[in-house]
């Protein structure tokens, strides 16, 4: 750490201008990460282009100013030229300078316009893989629309993720290499923004809107990003990890996911009556992934935004009212509707909430009860 700090200091002091064309891939990152898609490469190139133009202009301005500072000073006995602004240059500079700036502007704008057309508009009439990306407070939901599979993606606490803390998730967004992917962005609650630097773009997730972006993936690997639009308390805890794999691997993974899904559905709709211990074990796991971001593992919440569940009138009160809030959410608060979970999951979470942290109501909520309440 300490030696890296010195290195950094040294570098920052040495690089007094903009970056130049180094494209360094140092661990701490001085420039964009290496692109993993064709569109990202285009964006990378236009970024380097504008940066180089800016650097040149900056050097010219600095050069002129420092020349002037050195030679045109009173201590050197320089006599001020009182008629400089009346010379031909003074009279026509208001035309010359804008024309020169306009030339630079047009250079940048024409290149930018070409790149923009390519990255902004999703190609039509081609086979694209659709992934719906939904932002939630504070996790991501990836919906493989073509394969009917959903993935929930949450950050991993520091104890488990260590050096990748805030850059690693429990379930990655798996994508096949050499595919064109269309991302459909939306949000379930407040604004979020999907940003994976290696894919090159960022797009806001807006409730009630579906916005689209696309990427032509061309490299296998793990690409990390984060939510980029402030979305409340745990804005910092919304990493996004995209893993690009070969088509075979992706197909296997799809198969696996399908089997898990079928098994879970079968289990939930088996009509079986579950014991309290089974439900408590399942409930604890589910609660810690889905509910603990707000209500905390300790059940104490973060009042006033996120109320405690421990000894709360709702968790201790009638089952029906509690169930209603879990299924349908509570208007005007951050509590969302959790009705998309299956009956078993909801039953397990309910049972856990009503018995954990000394709540001890002794209530056991069965999947059948949930089914009835829907």
């Amino acid at each position: 750490m300490c030696s890296r700090f010195k290195e950094t200091m040294g570098f920052a002091l040495a690089s007094s201008g903009l970056l130049g064309a180094t494209g360094s891939q140092a661990e701490y990152g001085l420039n964009f990460v290496e692109p993993a898609a064709g569109v990202a490469q285009e964006i990378y190139d236009i970024h380097m282009m504008t940066m180089q133009v800016s650097t040149v202009l900056l050097l010219i301005v600095f050069g002129i100013v420092f020349y002037s500072l050195y030679y045109h000073r009173k201590s050197k006995g320089f006599e001020p030229d009182q008629n400089f602004h009346k010379s031909w240059f003074g009279n026509w500079s208001w035309v010359i300078v804008p024309v020169m700036v306009l030339g630079v502007d047009l250079t940048i704008a024409s290149k930018a316009d070409a790149v923009l057309k390519k990255v902004w508009v999703v190609p039509e009439g081609e086979k694209l893989m659709d992934v719906k990306v939904t932002g939630h407070q504070w996790w991501w939901e990836f919906d493989y629309l073509d394969h009917n599979i959903k993935v929930e993606s949450r950050y991993i606490p520091q104890e488990k993720s260590e050096d990748l803390y805030l850059r690693e998730v429990d379930n990655r967004l798996l994508l096949p290499n050499n595919t064109k992917v269309r991302f459909l962005h939306t949000s379930a609650d407040v604004l979020h923004a999907f940003w994976v630097p290696a894919l090159g773009f960022k797009k806001d997730a807006i409730p009630g809107y579906v916005t689209e972006t696309w990427a032509d993936l061309d490299r296998e690997g793990v690409f990390r990003g984060q939510c980029a639009e402030i979305c409340g308390t745990w804005h910092s805890r919304m990493p996004i990890v995209v893993e690009v794999v070969s088509q075979d691997k992706f197909d296997n993974w799809l198969e696996e996911q399908n089997q898990i899904k079928v098994a879970a559905l079968a289990e939930a709709s088996a009509g079986k009556t579950w014991s309290k211990d089974e439900l408590m074990a399942k409930g604890e796991e589910l609660y810690n992934t889905k509910c603990a971001a707000c209500h905390q593992v300790s059940g104490l919440g973060l009042p006033p935004a996120f109320p405690a569940l421990k000894a709360s009138p709702i968790a201790l009160g009638p089952v029906a009212a509690h169930l209603d809030i879990v299924l349908n959410g509570k208007e005007g608060t951050a509590m969302q509707a959790w009705g998309t979970m299956n009956d078993l999951e909801i039953a397990a979470i309910m049972t856990y909430e009503r018995n954990a942290w000394d709540n001890n109501t002794g209530d056991v909520v069965q999947p059948a009860d949930v089914k009835q309440a829907r």
Binding site: G208, Y209, T211, E212
Partner: protein, 47 residues
């Protein structure tokens, strides 16, 4: 301070009231006007 002449005073107040009226106009038209412009700008989702 030397007192403003009544003529200057009147002129000042008239200009000030005109500007205030303009500010109020911008305030009250901001809602429908900008809603409309925003639709024209043409969001993908249609505004």
């Amino acid at each position: 301070m030397s007192e403003q002449t009544s003529e200057l005073r009147k002129k000042n107040i008239v200009v000030a009231l005109l500007l205030a009226a303009f500010a109020l106009l911008v305030f009250f038209t901001s809602i429908p006007f900008w809603t409309g412009i925003f639709r024209i700008v043409g969001n993908q989702a249609g505004g």
